[in-house]
């Protein structure tokens, strides 16, 4: 495949943060260390790793928010960080972000309708912004949309706010969404309905998704339910493993992946183990 057929491609990307220590000393943190990743149209990529692994930095490089120290980040074959004018506009329109915390990512002084219509008008001044906003609300499962248009964020629950944040990311008709721990602040009982929403969106508007999470079980369900895509395991800024989620979970080759898989609480495995333990007494 020619490289300009990729939606996004990271080639040997490093991001180093240099901190001053004392008068003369320096400390270098390698947030990303020689990372290679390619994202095609329609891809689903689950990025899994612990805090400090470099997941968010990777998301920021893809979003055009963090210039690599070395290496190159490409959007349809062109360096994101030297895009100008129209081409940069096209990149911005195509790659959007869903942040982690819905309690701080929405503007408290704007109604839901206003926060959705502003980016719609920015990207498409000709269409009926209000109608489009309501369409987006319906897409993310907030029905009836008219109920939400005049509400302020503080009148909504955390789960509803996060749905608004997802709707807002769709305002520019993007091709790729980078969702950075989008359900971490959401009650665990609602997380699956968000997974279903993302899958529905990918189906309906042909979206690609980079889903950043520390929860490998959740990443697995996302990939299984969407029936495609792959997982990328990050550790200390490096991709230690990448591929089919079931393959990696059942046969982790990297030591860190093994630790991650073993530490994930598993209700079902526990239940099976329980059946085995209780068999002799039956």
């Amino acid at each position: 495949m020619r490289s300009n057929e990729y939606l996004i491609e990271l080639r040997d990307v490093c991001v180093y943060f240099t901190e001053r220590v004392g008068l003369l000393g320096k400390r270098v943190t390698k947030a990303l260390d020689h990372v290679n990743l390619s994202i095609s149209d329609g891809d689903v990529i689950a990025v899994v790793g612990e805090s400090g692994a470099g997941k968010t930095t990777m998301g920021r490089v893809i979003l055009g928010l963090q210039k690599p120290t070395s290496g190159i980040a490409l959007f349809r074959g062109k360096d994101i960080y030297s895009l100008k004018g129209r081409e940069f506009e096209e990149f911005r329109r195509s790659v959007q972000w869903v942040p982690q915390d819905p309690y701080s990512s929405l503007d408290p002084s704007l109604t839901i309708g206003e926060q959705l219509m502003a980016p719609i008008r920015r990207w498409n001044p000709k269409i009926d912004a209000s109608a489009r906003a309501q369409e987006l609300l319906r897409l993310v499962g907030l029905v009836p949309p008219s109920f939400y248009m005049n509400k302020y964020p503080h009148q909504l629950s955390g789960g509803q706010r996060q749905r608004i944040a997802i709707a807002r990311s769709l305002a520019s008709n993007p091709r790729l969404i980078v969702a950075d721990e989008p359900v971490t602040m959401i009650d665990s009982s609602l997380r699956i309905s968000f997974i279903n929403t993302f899958i529905e969106l990918m189906r309906v508007v042909n979206l690609s998704l980079v889903f950043i999470t520390h929860d490998i079980a959740l990443a697995r369900i996302l990939l299984l339910k969407s029936g495609k895509g792959r997982v990328v395991i990050l550790k200390d800024g490096r991709i230690v493993e990448e591929g089919d989620i079931n393959e990696i979970v059942s046969n982790p080759r990297d030591e860190y992946t093994k630790v991650l898989v073993n530490a994930a609480p598993d209700l079902k495995k526990w239940l099976k183990g329980y059946e085995k333990r209780s068999e002799p007494s039956l």
């Binding site: 009982s189 994930a264 598993d266 526990w270």
Partner: protein, 321 residues
């Protein structure tokens, strides 16, 4: 006789501006036996932290305890004077690892001074004795006391802070420790370490533990009994194995089904329909009925009583005989 027995506890948050009272706990009754690790599961807003703070008598206005009793070894904690409760119970017999323990430390104090401060508040002034005891506990939590004593909170990682918070809670060797979401902000690897630590505290010192979490998937790892809370009400109480293997209440069932496991298939994991309840709205009848697939007419008007199902408490009309 249970170590802790909460009887018909009602807690309200009074919001004078809105001229309403939010009922955070509605007639909650829970028993915790000595030596248990009692898991309390519920979504945000279900009243988990309110319950913990009520036991510690640390609720502040606008929260008030409307009615109910909290018996600890048959003494009603709510009937004691603040002085008596503080000198004989709080931190001495019942202590707590608060939610978001990452933020409970005084950023200007070294870790050693947090122990000295805690000891002083309970009349222990011999610093050598304090540091000796603190070293023992820190070592038990797998921290190096000599190193950690001189650090400031910001120099510790999230997992280390959680260990120090646990060590502070154990400092006076309490009979009961309430842990409020002790692993919520930690990654899975650190979470497993902390869960193992909590279990070893329970085994080694016989400390009774109330373990509050929103994540039912860690319950089998840690708990011996489970209380399921929803919108300030108890839905189901029973031994951990029974509740996880064969949940009776539709909410507990839905909660187990909504939890992804590394071995579950895509279709097995199902979301709970609808939205969590809005605390500002008073729901008539069972609080789960708007989301319940088995809803009947009676659920919308009457609160289900406690049904005893094979030694388990289930508050659901499905089990009416």
């Amino acid at each position: 006789m249970p170590l802790l027995s909460i009887r018909n506890l009602n807690v309200e948050y009074r919001l004078p501006d809105l001229k309403i009272a939010i009922k955070a706990l509605k007639g909650v009754s829970v028993n915790v036996n000595k030596g248990d690790i009692a898991g309390i599961v519920g979504e945000s807003g279900s009243g988990k932290s309110t319950l913990a703070l009520a036991i510690m008598r640390m609720l502040k206005p606008p929260a008030i305890i409307k009615s109910g009793n909290i018996y600890f070894n048959d003494v009603d904690l709510l009937s004691l004077s603040e002085h008596e409760f503080n000198s004989k119970y709080r931190w001495v017999k019942i202590s707590m690892v608060p939610q978001a323990s990452q933020n409970i430390f005084n950023p200007t104090m070294r870790i050693r001074d947090h122990f000295i401060d805690t000891a002083k508040a309970h009349g222990i002034t011999d610093e050598n004795e304090v540091l000796k005891r603190a070293s023992e506990i820190l070592e038990f939590t797998k921290l190096n006391p000599a190193r950690v004593f001189n650090l400031y909170p910001h120099q510790l990682s999230g997992g280390m802070k959680q260990r120090v918070a646990i060590a502070l809670a154990l400092f006076l060797n309490p009979e009961l420790v309430i842990m409020d979401e002790p692993t919520a902000a930690l990654d899975v690897v650190t979470q497993m370490d902390i869960l193992n630590l909590v279990k070893s505290i329970n085994e080694k010192f016989g400390t009774t533990i109330i373990f509050i979490t929103h994540d039912i998937s860690i319950i089998p790892v840690i708990a011996s009994s489970v209380v399921v809370l929803y919108n300030g009400e108890v839905m189901e109480v029973g031994p951990m194995e029974d509740i996880i293997i064969d949940p009776k209440h539709p909410y507990t069932k839905a909660l187990v089904q909504s939890t992804p496991s590394l071995s579950s298939s895509a279709d097995e994991v199902k979301p709970i329909p609808g939205e969590p309840p809005n605390p500002l709205e008073d729901i008539q009848g069972c609080p789960f009925w708007p989301r319940c697939p088995y809803v009947m007419d009676v659920c919308k008007t009457d609160k289900p009583p406690e049904y005893n199902v094979n030694g388990r408490i289930v508050r659901c009309y499905l089990y009416e005989k």
